[in-house]
Symmetry: C2
Subunit: 211 residues, 2 copies
DNA sequence: TGCTGATGCGAGTACTTGCTCGCCTTCAAC
DNA sequence: GTTGAAGGCGAGCAAGTACTCGCATCAGCA
């Protein structure tokens, strides 16, 4: 509460120090997991003394926040780029399939980071995680809103789909389950495309009439 | 590694002590979260000294394991009971819907425990979590295997569905998102029933032919 | 060159953690 | 009632934690 702010790095030397601390934070995070991160370890890995670390970060959490923020910015950019690209592509046919593949690539290339972000990072932590999820929800909802979804609410559909697909892709990367990648892509594509179909069928009729 | 085993409680008195420790472990877990659990806290909450705790549990993890085991046994019984019940019910029409509702009930009644189990408990921890997921997968896969799924593999379908539905239901309980319960039930029912439809359509054709 | 604030250091503090160990109390079998 | 084992206690240890503070060093400028 009191002295939250720390000295901002002015000289090139100290800017480099900050970078080394963040990089070391990332490395320690991947190596030892969220709970294994220690300010002393980060400082040592950065080749810096604990005191120097606290010159630029008010506490341990601030270091982790910086690391996570950089990572999620990166990840979100990548995901939304893939999303927009497939929408713009000439053949609209397998938009879903290509997005599923893009997600699997994004998570699969850095399983360790995926594990930290999806598994170890506390949900409460500044709600950085919730904020990320919300941004993805909005991205998908915006696209759905531009299309004819009949009676169904685009935001609800987006929320459901994002959670379903996210969990399946992340789970596949982290659990290495008895499902090979091609099958997973097929099934998730099926799951989503059928879910998105617009038809007035038994299920919808019953649902709007129930209770 | 060396003295893993501890004294087994022989007298009624010590059996009661063990019970109090486990109950206190559960309470502390709900109150302070996974990382907030401390052997000293558990002992204090049980009205017992730390030394007594270590008479019956080799380490802190053993206490938490016992608490989690009891909880997952309970939860799994409840889920599979609901599952089997809906299958046996006269009207097979909304089996999916009623299972979704049962899941929402199960998780929703104890949000604190749901948070601990789904969110805070490390995935690595004795892979108790993975074991639980595997049992649920098998339950669902067994039912699907008894039905005609065409070309599609029941185990893969089960894996995908379990993750999708589980994450959506748990997420709804923990995130309290801008989706009301009735809508979520509708949409998840739609998601699953459509996914389960047996038809030979474009998606399947493309998927089996791809790569 | 000499000065001054920015930078860096790392031993040290204050605290928490999991867990032990010597000692005392209670119980049950004879 | 005696006795030996089961049960229980709780101060305290060893290890580790986040973080500080007094002091040394350095970069850039006059």
């Amino acid at each position: 509460m009191s002295p939250r702010e720390r000295r901002a790095p002015r000289q090139a030397r100290s800017r480099a120090t900050v970078e080394r601390i963040v990089a070391a934070g990332r490395a320690v995070l991947l190596e030892r997991g969220w709970d294994g991160v220690t300010t002393n370890h980060v400082a040592a890995a950065a080749g810096v003394s604990p005191g120097s670390l606290y010159q630029y970060f008010p506490d341990k959490e601030a270091v982790l926040d910086e690391v996570v923020d950089r990572e999620t910015v990166h990840l979100e950019a990548r995901i939304s780029r893939a999303f927009v690209d497939t929408l713009r592509a000439p053949s609209r046919g397998d938009v879903v399939r290509r997005n599923v593949e893009a997600l699997l690539d994004a998570f699969g290339e850095q399983p360790a980071m995926t594990r930290v972000l999806a598994d170890q990072m506390p949900r409460g932590a500044g709600s950085r995680r919730a904020a990320f999820a919300r941004r993805v929800d909005e991205l998908v909802a915006a696209v759905l809103a531009g299309q004819d979804t009949g009676q169904r609410r685009p935001d609800v559909m987006a929320w459901v789909m994002v959670r379903a697909v996210e969990q399946a892709t992340i789970g596949w990367v982290l659990e290495d389950p008895p499902v090979d990648r091609a099958d997973l892509v097929d099934e998730l594509t099926l799951l989503v495309t059928r879910y998105l179909e617009r038809r007035w069928d038994r299920e919808v009729a019953r649902s709007t009439a129930s209770d």
